[in-house]
Subunit: 417 residues, 3 copies
């Protein structure tokens, strides 16, 4: 995953343009993708697909022609969606177009102006401080023109048409944790699920933030009612502990599964309530859709000083942290996939487990004892109102033990999904 | 307000009689009142309007004709609703008609016998201890005869016919905190609201306790269904911190507003659950009506030693405390008046705030940031089930910020009440 | 009660057979019983009534003919439901049929094999250690043959046909706390209730564990809908504090009553949630029936080292502990019997208690004050949704005070059940 982060890192992504396409090309080497190109001007819910932005070069050069700020060195140096400019001006005039982070003088900030036509540069405060007064040549060789918004999907077919959406934004330029780590975890999660023939159909969505999710929602009205659960992956690779942000519903299936898996795993973690600010859970959880979509991060958005700066580089994300995020996703989806409600078909008194070979003949082994207890719990709670996760939580038994008990009872004809 | 307390203090109020009328005359100088006179014998719910009690003079005089206890000195000296008496008797016989407070020997207690024909005097234990044995002349020059029960209303017209009732009892004689402070706060609250053209219609009720509220309820059957909220004001002027007692429902609008306003204000305060004992919330919250009426006090009834004694005099109530009670009422009614449920008219995805000029272009200012967050919260929660107060509590944002955001969104056509 | 425990202790009970009958004969001396005999092979819910097991003698004798393990000394020495055997074998072969408790070398364990045909002996580890190698004669003179399953009922008729079931298992051999103490408490509880003409009809069930409860449920399908509450008594005599295990519903009437009575009594106690393991609450609370049946124990099943060993003898149960269990049952059923929902017939405003003689004329006495408060609480909460126990808990008043207030109000025609 870290290799994928490193490959994607130099590209200049934005909400539209060739940087997004190049990103999807590389992800496509790991995973077959369905690519979508939506024309500028297409109405999508309350929005309109914007013009496409592409940039070839951008720099500030001093009087000697030396590039003191150069887009080629980092895609962060140019204000996202900068309009083209080609001019010479004194530093005093140029300053109005420069963005720095005085509190972190060696870092370059990340800034955009998607819906307001502006141009600008981002640079280290140190760099700015070193510039002598005088005339500078500024040039942004960009185009903002009708084109397309690009996104991609990968589907892991399941046993049922009900879907789980996994979404990650692909619109941020050279920022590793936000969100190349999320892209990498999503990619490898899709590959892992594809080997398992899951219960749900899993749809992976690689799209620019906000406008990408809105575009997908606008173009998939008929599919949305099949979406049972979802997860937005963002900031998935820093070394902080995991944070799960609940869906707007607060008690959706994914919310209960994530809380259970994180608690049962013993990992330090945080569960936070839904807020209407963050990543694309904002769109999936808007009140008209109100999907059961939560968000998994390590340190959440804006929670670390490197956030939206040049310090969020590939060194900032760790292979172990991404592997840990991936492991939790796999555990969670494994539980989600098996969390079904059964109905006890022999609900009057306990059924005689012994004559069905379900009662451990030997006794005393603690795992056999747990298996028996799990069967009694499944029989007791399978009244149509409680799923296996409820039963695991109520009984304090591991979900796997409860699920195995349910399998045994179902095979014996004692319960039915 | 303190001046009003001082003017009202000497009057001998009871549940009926001229003392109540004189009280309403004085309140009427501050506030136009609708006066009501309900004849003795009128059936009111399970009760009957009692005979009217009036008193001109009452005293105990020693053998020398010296008045050792004199109604003219304090209206508390006579047992409320004392039947007339004119007799001479030894101290030993008189004692059975005397009420003192041995634990506070210099204070005169307040006692009544509304529904049992008795006569009696209340005096300081010190006074009693100083009386030599011997014959005393006792005289209560009172009348208990058919007449009327008096109460008054003041209406502050609102934008809607739905009503908020503010009620305070006017039946206690020379007791300042219980309830002249409540009368004063109610009076000035009505004046303040009248300057504001509120949303709800506010009905102020100045009536004797229990029988007054019961009489109002009996005579306003058709109006009761318009009562949305209510507040009983009592013990509103001592220097203790505020206590809000919830309505019987426990989660009525006024309950949530008061809890929010008190918590948000940072004032020390207490919230207590409903009990069927206290002031006229007992009647408004009786199970047949079950109105959303709570009660605001400072130190609640019977919670201070001066309660129902001559020590509850104008010195016991403070202008600052009354001003503080008034301020909380105004804050609470301001929230109550604006706490409406909106419906997001663009609930699929987030609406594009930017093109409507609702997204702060400058960014970074914390109040602008809060305003944006408030808009996102209002959009997210305005699904018909959540009002602005819910949203303020859920988001942790100030109610005023949330209400301003709702105004802006409503003006932009994005939400509708 | 302790005398009854001592009389029952020597008998060799099992899930069927003459030991159960002899047990019911002795209980029948204290209480008239309806006896039931259900033939082997009768289908009962998912089970079938098993063959009847009877045993006359069982021993292991050494080469000298000396009985080193003798059923006559303790019914625990033989594996419950042992098939007959008569053989001579070396100790090495015999060991496979011997059960000991190495961690308590002087105690004899209790073991059964109800549904697997086996034979075996239980003995102290010390006894086993003292046996020299060599040939031993083993003999179990038992019969496993078609016969009957025996159980008994005692009914205390109530004022209504709605029933409360009190159940205790009678299938354990020489074990005092599990469950002769339960049998003794149930027996004396029935006698106490019979003297009181209770509200509910109380049905006492003395039956073997699991198969007995299942048999009763199978044969009383029409009666089950009349069962309002129930209590399983087990481990009722050790000196530990009381433990109440909630019904599967968790908030059934008996659950709320038991929690209230235990808390109000000030006794140290534990309330545990339902688990599908334990005694016959497993059957009564199976999801098809889901009856409001909890379980009262002192130290719960398997919670003490003497559990299911020869150390659970009559010395292990204390007369005081059984008396305490009995007292709590009586308190609980007394509350249960009186916990009714009333409706306030005068719900608009407070009714005038004074003219009905319900308002204490004297005042000031704290019990009179409590009685008045209880009347106000009953009037306030009697809206059809709250019973007297709810009112006691909400008001913090003793249940008896609330119930007395309800009686007074009902007598005055102010409330109606």
């Amino acid at each position: 995953m870290h290799e994928l982060v490193e490959r994607l890192y130099p590209l200049c992504r934005s909400i539209t343009g060739d940087g997004v396409r190049a990103t999807l090309d590389i992800v496509g080497e790991y995973l077959p993708l369905q690519r979508h190109e939506v024309p500028t001007g297409t109405p999508v819910l309350d929005w309109t697909v914007p013009q496409e932005w592409n940039i070839r070069d951008a720099y500030i050069a001093d009087a000697a022609g030396h590039r003191v700020v150069d887009f080629a060195a980092s895609s962060l140096h140019v204000l996202g969606y900068s309009v083209p400019v080609s001019a010479t001006m004194p530093l005093s005039e140029l300053r109005g177009h420069l963005h720095t982070l005085p509190e972190h003088p060696s870092w370059v900030p990340y800034r955009t102006s998607y819906y307001e036509p502006r141009w600008g540069f981002c640079l280290a405060q140190e760099t700015l401080d070193a510039l002598p007064e005088g005339e500078y040549e500024v040039r942004v060789d960009s185009t903002l023109a009708d084109g397309h918004l690009s996104y991609a999907e990968h589907i892991v077919p399941g046993q049922v048409a009900d879907e789980v959406i996994v979404s990650c934004h692909v619109c941020h330029p050279s920022l590793a944790n936000d969100n190349l780590a999320g892209v990498a975890v999503a990619t490898f999660l899709a590959r892992a699920l594809a080997r398992e023939r899951p219960w749900y159909t899993y749809r992976f969505l690689f799209a620019p933030g906000t406008i990408g999710a809105i575009t997908w929602l606008a173009r998939n009205a008929e599919r949305i009612e099949r979406v049972r659960h979802g997860l937005v992956l963002a900031c998935a690779g820093d070394t902080g502990s995991l944070t799960y942000k609940r869906s707007r519903r607060g008690d959706a299936g994914i919310d209960r599964v994530m809380a259970h898996v994180l608690a049962a795993s013993g990992r330090p973690h945080r569960i936070t309530e839904f807020t209407p600010y963050g990543y694309d859970e904002r769109q999936f959880c808007s009140p008209g859709f109100d999907l059961g979509v939560g968000s998994l991060s390590r340190t959440p958005y804006a929670g670390y000083p490197e956030y939206h700066t040049s310090a969020d580089n590939p060194d900032f994300v760790s292979p172990e942290a991404m592997a840990d995020t991936l492991a939790v996703c796999r555990e969670a989806f494994s539980v989600l996939d098996r969390d079904r409600r059964y109905r006890n078909l022999s609900p009057y008194g306990e059924p005689q487990l012994g004559r069905r070979g379900l009662y451990d003949a030997i006794g005393g082994r603690s795992d056999a004892k747990q298996a028996q207890m799990a069967m009694l719990w499944v029989l007791s709670r399978s009244d149509g109102d409680h799923g296996l996760l409820d039963i695991a939580e109520r009984s304090g038994l591991p979900f796997d033990t409860v699920a195995a008990a349910a399998d045994a009872l179902a095979a014996a004809g004692l319960i039915k999904a």
